[in-house]
């Protein structure tokens, strides 16, 4: 099969969990990577080494362990900056996940003074395919500040409906927040083009790269975003860490988010002054061992190469879509063309509820997600309440796709549809 990672079997050996068996001894077929990815040994080892040999608090500790921990932590910031092609390492803020990163932007825009602050009469534009984590923060912001929330609708084939972009992105638009790759439909959005239009009216562009970071090369300068968020656990890193990248001059201007240790310059009982970005937005002890893990994870992905990973995802996704096309009663939601999509494929099976599909697949060792995938509005748009989603990653093999399709046929026979 063209496009597969050349050393796929070696890559798989890097992921200890793939040797697990489930469901009466069947090998695990993990097709839930858009939900969370599995971790290579090098990430686990980096975390263990840190905990067993270098653990200390960072920035504030001047002893040997403190210096080692600080160096490891800040090294990961460099790795992230490189991964995103950021202008400066100071543009990289560590958060607990992508959701916090997006909320950080929405919250500081609630408290910011003009011209950044969002207030009555201002507009925030999102899209109907956003993950709840890129919807609810903007609902809270606009509701609390008396601003207006609008959104791009979707075309029947799962793309953003850009036909009314001029009505949507207006001079009073302060923020355009959108996902780069949809976690439900798989759609890859034209973020650079939308950023260009948003900047014409002076709006800030917030890109949710939670699904893009694992599978596409990212260059924040090339897409000309103002803020970009992603999450560690989907890029073969640990939970407990996410990243907000922001243009430095914006991070400088925004008010603080959480207050506390490490984000200050000086504190009196009456008032405080704040450190410069990124520390200004990192109150309290940061996710240290998680940053170490994330640094190892992004280094691992970069060594394999994001282009190679993307090609692999495309090949596997094409195979998956072809396989699904051969199963009667299956309807795929989202773009039919693999070139326009990422590696998450949501579908319906006529007559069997997604829960039951997932349950039956699980009994065959195949792990998929069933439900609304934190994208209720996108499901509603396509007239469904929930769906089943199979999502591959760099460790997914064609044989696993075959096992999945076979299990799907079995599911249909089990439920006699």
């Amino acid at each position: 099969m063209d496009g597969l990672l050349p050393d796929l079997e070696i890559v798989r050996k890097d992921f200890p969990i793939l040797e697990r068996t489930v469901a009466d001894g069947r090998p695990l077929v993990y097709l839930d990577s858009a939900n969370t990815s599995q971790k290579p040994q090098c990430v686990v080892d980096a975390m263990v080494d840190h905990l067993e040999h270098h653990n200390a608090n960072v920035a504030r500790a001047m002893h040997t362990l403190g210096a080692e921990a600080t160096e490891a932590f800040e090294h990961s910031r460099d790795v992230v900056a490189g991964f995103l092609h950021a202008r400066s390492r100071d543009e990289v803020v560590f958060t607990k996940n992508a959701s916090e990163a997006l909320n950080l932007v929405a919250n500081t825009l609630a408290w910011a003074d003009a011209p950044l602050g969002v207030g009555a009469g201002d507009r925030v534009v999102i899209t109907e395919m956003e993950h709840h984590s890129n919807i609810v923060p903007w609902q809270l912001l606009t509701q609390r500040k008396g601003a207006e929330l609008r959104w791009f609708g979707l075309t029947d084939d799962g793309h953003l409906d850009l036909s009314r972009i001029d009505e949507l992105i207006t001079p009073n638009t302060k923020v355009v927040a959108l996902t780069w790759v949809s976690n439900m439909l798989g759609t890859v959005n034209p973020v650079a083009e939308i950023a260009r239009r948003a900047h014409e009216v002076g709006a800030l562009v917030v890109v949710d790269a939670s699904q893009a970071a694992p599978q596409l090369p990212i260059d924040v300068q090339a897409i000309d975003a103002d803020f970009l968020a992603f999450t560690g656990h989907k890029t073969v890193g640990p939970t407990g860490i996410g990243v907000l990248w922001g243009r430095l001059e914006l991070l400088e201007q925004l008010p603080p988010f959480l207050g506390g240790g490490e984000m200050i310059e000086t504190v009196t009982m009456e008032t405080s002054t704040y450190a410069h970005p990124p520390h200004k937005f990192e109150a309290g002890t940061p996710p240290i061992v998680e940053a170490v893990g994330l640094g190892a994870a992004l280094t691992y992905l970069s060594e394999i190469g994001l282009d190679a990973i993307h090609a692999h995802e495309q090949a596997i996704t094409r195979y998956l879509l072809d396989g699904l096309a051969g199963v009667e009663g299956v309807t795929v939601l989202g773009p039919a063309e693999v070139a326009e999509r990422g590696g998450a494929v949501s579908f319906e099976v006529a007559g069997v509820h997604p829960h039951d599909v997932a349950q039956l697949l699980d009994s065959r060792g195949v792990a998929v997600r069933a439900g609304h995938h934190c994208a209720k509005p996108a499901h509603r748009r396509f007239g469904v309440q929930s769906s089943t989603r199979a999502s591959s990653y760099l460790y997914t093999t064609p044989e696993e796709i075959e096992a999945f399709i076979e299990a799907l046929q079995y599911t249909k026979s089990y439920f006699k549809v």
């Binding site: 469901a23 997604p354 829960h355 009994s363 439900g371 609304h372 309440q385 929930s386």
Partner: protein, 159 residues
């Protein structure tokens, strides 16, 4: 037991029958309380109405509109069969018994004389993620009933 056997124990014929032919489905009048419950994880939903006797002691009718998996749909169907026509007190006791069965992780032996078709859900108890599905409509029923008895609500009819 193998997981395959567990699976078959969950997807009993009775459950699949109720799934394909749900009883008492559709929203009816009169009713004194209507509630809408959601399983936030998977999105399963139920809108459920309860009609009690004038003195509030007997479950005269339970009607519902639900979207969800086989387990949640069958549970709604079986639940209505069990509680309609029963005294509220007995129905609440039934709910307790069903709850115990569901939370017993497969260790509770159900009594068919008490739970009737409800015993078919014994197998669900081994799948923690599905217990919520089986309980969704029961919770909705209990909630609606509590609203009526606490507020002394009078029957509603759409005008």
């Amino acid at each position: 037991m193998t997981q395959q056997a567990d699976l078959d124990a969950m997807y009993q014929e009775i459950i699949l029958d109720h799934y394909k032919n749900p009883q008492h489905k559709g929203l009816r009048e009169p009713y004194e309380a209507e509630v809408h419950h959601v399983n936030p994880t998977c999105g399963d939903e139920v809108t459920l109405r309860v009609h009690l006797s004038a003195d509030g002691t007997v479950v005269e009718d339970v009607s519902y509109d639900a979207e969800g998996c086989s387990i949640s749909q069958a549970a709604a169907s079986v639940m209505t069969e069990l509680v309609i026509g029963r005294s509220v007190a007995d129905a609440l006791k039934l709910h307790e018994t069903f709850l115990e069965l569901m939370q017993g992780k497969g260790t509770v032996e159900p009594d068919e004389d008490v739970l009737e078709d409800g015993v078919a859900f014994a197998g669900v108890a081994k799948f923690p993620a599905r217990v919520k599905c089986a309980l969704l409509s029961w919770m909705a029923w209990k909630d609606a009933t509590a609203r009526i008895t606490s507020q002394g609500a009078t029957p509603k009819e759409t005008s």
